[in-house]
Amino acid sequence: MTDALDTQIDLWRAHMERHATVATTDVDELEDHLRGHIESLAAAGLSDDEAFLVAMKRLGSQDDIAREFARENSKRLWKQLVLGASDDEARSATANGWLPAVLFAVAGAVLVRLPLFGDINGWAGESYARAAGVIGLAAVVAYLLWRHVQGRTLTVAVTGGMAALAALSLMYPLRSGGDAFLSTMLHVPVAAWLLVGLAYAGDHWRTTEGRMDFVRFTGEWVIYMTLLALGGGVLMGISALVSSAAGVDPTTVLTEWILPCGVGGAAVVAAWLVEAKRSVIENMAPVLARVFTPLFTLTFGVLLLVVLASGNILDLDRNLLAVCNAILVLAAGLVLYSLTARSDDAHTGWFDWLQVALVAGALALDLLALVNIVTRIGDGGWTFNRTVVLGANLILLANLAVSAWLLTRVTRAEGGAVLRLERWQTALLPVYGLWAIVVIVVLPPAFSLVNT
């Protein structure tokens, strides 16, 4: 081969590498292909130049190749949608715009604010707290249904699901602030968030890819919500300082207007930001996963040490147990989230081992928590709280045990292991929803916590 040919191929490489969806290794492979083709054409009697042109023509346009690679390289539905659907580009431009997002955000703010006009210390306030998950996420669901133009069946199913969930959360007369009341408050958002997922993934909810996309959406939404909350908190702090200095009491305005409206609106704005500013977070997610996984692994180590040092393994403090549970849920979320940040051609490395360590630590902590709960049940019998915690811990145990096993297979670079891990993790999503419904609907009457 001549230098001139090399130069031409180098130029082609440079162009190819500029496509974000084509990895460098992909271009290596394509270059080998191109050169192989040129060699066989040259062997058939073509000159280098002619062979290059013919081979290039066969290779197809760069955009076409980039698009095909994007389909495979990206697990994101949106890329496929954007790349595959040129017919409704006009629509997606409108859909990405800020105006619809702002309108839905205002609706969200109003929705969160409206119930506060009622008797907040009486029945209205209690219902509000119990259905908070539905009220806060209703506008997000509406926005996503509008944004993704879901089919009629799905729209009806999601809307009906939200209404049913609101009804279920208010079904029983529960003692305000009691155990069942609090657990309903905590579990309604879980079920409501899965409905958000249905609105987001649409008909893809049955596929692992669709569910992974929703998990990714969840992670990014949480990041944006945190950023918005930080910004909002700073602004509220400054306004409080300024108005106090001016001799005006800002408490009512801030807590009764700005805070609820802000939360309701921010939920929609965060969803819009995830959709519209994807490439920003897409680069951030792997970094965050890599920063927090070591930190959490460390936390588990410390927690285990604290528990062991206390010498009271079988009689942990109730509050410590609650902290353990919160951290375990976070750990399970982190494993799921770092899975979405994993690139397809990622090589097995220290990060996979760290994840095994994280899951192993979480498993140890979960077993410890389970032993404690079972001991408590053995000593004091079944109570509502113990059942709720036991159920959540058993689901976590199954999740972590299978994940640990699959992760060790990932570290051995077994083919398809990552895919199996994704399947397992996303298959559990409906299970969380089912358990939430059980806690809201079945357990309160089972433990006679319903006021008569």
Binding site: T25, H33, G36, I65, R67, E68, E72, E414, G416
Partner: protein, 120 residues
């Protein structure tokens, strides 16, 4: 003969797995082999083959390793795995069913438009 895109795409996975079951191979050689097997009727594009190879690799049906060509160029070689062989057996059964059904239907109705008389 112009084979529709859907049909090409549907037959792509079994073809790649079959070619790799014959022997380990690499991209350009696989495309050449497809041409040989179909007497030049199936012309695959690179945009079809490489993403497919990467997907099969992710699903654990094939394994890729970087090696060198005869001229010392970087080249990615692919090998079929046990999972891939199992998947191939499934594909084979499915395609045989389809092809048997079509042949039976065409024989029964004595339809034969084929220029080569393949179903005569």
């Amino acid at each position: 003969m112009d084979i529709p895109r859907d049909l090409v795409a549907a037959s792509a996975t079994p073809l790649v797995l079959t070619i790799l079951a014959e022997s380990d191979s690499y991209g350009y050689a696989i495309i050449k082999r497809v041409g040989e097997l179909s007497s030049g009727q199936l012309e695959w594009t690179e945009g079809l083959l490489y993403p497919l190879l990467h997907r099969l690799e992710r699903q654990g049906q094939i394994e890729g390793t970087w090696g060198a060509s005869e001229s010392g160029r970087k080249r990615r070689y692919y090998r079929i795995t046990a999972d891939g062989r199992a998947a191939l057996a499934g594909h084979q059964a499915q395609w045989r069913t389809v092809s048997t059904a079509l042949e039976a239907a065409w024989t029964a109705t004595k339809l034969d438009f084929g220029p080569t008389g393949a179903f005569a």
